[in-house]
């Protein structure tokens, strides 16, 4: 019964979801001369900079440093951008949520979906750089979809939690900003994991974002199936985060209106 109602309501508002995603994507680049091309250029330029700066330092142990950097950067920046956009979504939608009935989670979901589309557009850059650097393609490249899928699930969970907290405490934004910066250094984006002392390694594998990066690198850079243990851990944490996110959001959403 509950599920039936949920699906009925979702069907009614799925056009709104599509419209919000479309708006996020079009408004982002509207007025810029290069438009959607920035979705390619941004990761590409970052990759070039990071490769120039850190390539000489760490490049020796890594077969294809540009790909190594790019896989890490794309994954991390998706997580960072999508959780931030979801965090602000309820506040941003306040003028409407205060006046009309709209399912609130649609707003959080729309932001994450638009960043997901952005991620897939950026993936084209990855393919181009693979061709340019002579990185061999393999059937295991397709397995990259698994860590990315679970990362999206994890992001939705985190996004729902952050969106709820941000309604009640506006300084979560700044705290989370600091946290994300810390997370960036903890994701081994531009250095090899081998330089990390043995006793800290577990800390990296506890981080779901790093697990996703590692899985992506296994399938893209090393042409193997992602480590099943890492993948399993990522899957469990993601589903757990999603459940917690739904519960937190569901329990607090009726109070949103009093605080936004």
């Amino acid at each position: 019964m509950l599920e039936h109602r949920f699906i009925k309501n979702f069907t009614k508002y799925k056009f709104l979801l599509a419209e919000l995603v479309k708006r996020d994507i079009t408004v982002k680049y509207r007025g810029s001369a290069l438009g959607i091309f920035w979705s390619f250029l941004n990761p590409l330029l970052t990759m070039v900079v990071l490769t120039i700066v850190f390539g000489a330092l760490f490049g020796k142990n890594i077969p294809n440093f540009p790909i190594y950097v790019l896989t890490g950067y794309l994954t991390f920046s998706f997580f960072s951008a999508a959780t931030k956009i979801a965090m602000n979504s309820i506040k941003k939608g306040a003028p409407i949520l205060k006046k009309m009935y709209v399912p609130k989670y649609i707003y959080a979901l729309a932001g994450i979906l638009s960043e997901t589309i952005n991620l897939f557009i950026s993936m084209i850059v990855l393919v181009l750089v693979m061709m340019a650097t002579g990185c061999p393609f393999s059937i295991f490249n397709l397995a990259a979809i698994l860590p990315i899928f679970f990362l999206i699930i994890f992001t939705v969970g985190c996004g729902l939690i952050l969106a709820s907290i941000n309604v009640f405490f506006k300084d979560i934004k700044y705290l989370y900003g600091v946290f994300v910066r810390l997370l960036m250094y903890g994701c081994a984006i531009f250095y090899p994991i081998t330089i990390i002392p043995e006793r800290f390694i577990l800390l990296f594998y506890a981080n779901p974002v790093y697990c996703a990066i590692s899985g992506l690198r296994d399938s893209i850079l090393y042409g193997t199936f992602p480590n099943p243990f890492v993948l399993l851990y990522l899957a469990v944490v993601s589903v757990f985060a999603l459940i917690i996110g739904i519960i937190v959001f569901y329990k607090s959403q009726d109070k949103f209106i009093l605080y936004i």
């Binding site: 009925k8 309501n9 708006r23 009309m100 009935y101 709209v102 405490f169 705290l175 569901y250 605080y259």
Partner: protein
């Protein structure tokens, strides 16, 4: 996971209508002992730092404010109900509860049918979007489907009288143009329930007449109306039922003429 009140009731009502087919006294809105309590802290704590400090000092005060207190009513199809009362009496909160924006603290509200809230026209407009794009965005917010909007697009465009302006971004519109567009989108459906906070008259003299006519034709089509207004003459003219609220409580309810006269007497 977030479902409005009305869906459940749709089914409830379809069950009912099978039993008795007299559509005229079909219950459209049923409010049972609605309470809305806001918990306000006297100082607004909206960041973690202050919250933690206050919590450590055991200093979090909460004051309860009852905005709507034990309100019950039933509206049948075709009823036009006016809400009157001084500012802060709880009229707008009650409208928001009926529209599904807020959930009451306790009590039960059941609403069946499509609601057209003519509360804030164009609340969902995006300034960077053109008029045409905003028709779809705003329509989506109102819960219309893509197919519906595509089939009615020309009608909306024509009613709005905006012509070639529909292709330029809304940020360049005047406020009159914006409300013309908002009105055209909001009234394109044939709603079962119309919610009005003050009777709308928007745009220039010509459009004012047109929007007034449109509202009148909606009124005559047997729609259920909820109207908040400070103009008692208007309430008397348009409504058949009136609820008079004071501090969230119903002071008096019933026939428009009687309640309005009593209200006017008390204000004087």
């Amino acid at each position: 996971m977030d479902t409005p009140n009305h869906i459940e009731i749709n089914e409830y009502n379809s069950l009912q209508s099978e039993k008795s087919d007299s559509s005229q006294d079909k219950v459209v809105i049923r409010a049972e002992k609605i309470n809305m309590v806001f918990e306000m802290s006297p100082e607004k704590i909206d960041n973690i730092k202050e919250y933690v400090i206050k919590w450590l000092k055991r200093d979090i005060k909460r004051e309860k404010f009852v905005a709507v207190n034990d309100v019950s009513f039933i509206l049948n199809k075709g009823d036009r109900m006016g809400l009157i009362g001084l500012n802060g009496a709880g009229k707008s909160t009650l409208l928001k509860i009926i529209a599904g924006v807020m959930k009451p603290t306790n009590g039960k509200i059941t609403v069946s049918g499509k609601i057209a809230p003519l509360l804030e026209l164009g609340a969902g407009f995006d300034p960077n979007y053109s008029g045409r794009e905003n028709i779809f965005l705003n329509g989506a917010i109102l819960g219309y489907s893509k197919e519906f909007l595509e089939s009615r697009y020309d009608e909306i465009a024509e009613f709005s009288e905006l012509g070639r302006f529909l292709e330029i971004p809304i940020k360049n519109y005047s406020s009159g143009m914006r409300s013309k567009l908002g009105f055209s989108i909001a009234t394109i459906v044939e709603p079962d329930i119309l919610i009005l906070d003050e009777v709308l008259s928007v745009g220039d003299a010509k459009f004012r007449k047109k929007s007034g006519d449109k509202i009148k034709s909606l009124f005559n089509s047997g729609v259920t109306v909820l109207l908040v207004s400070h103009s008692i003459t208007q309430i008397k003219e348009l409504c058949n039922k009136v609820i008079w609220l004071e501090n969230g409580k119903i002071v008096m309810s019933g026939d428009a003429e009687t309640v309005c006269d009593a209200y006017l007497k008390s204000v004087e």
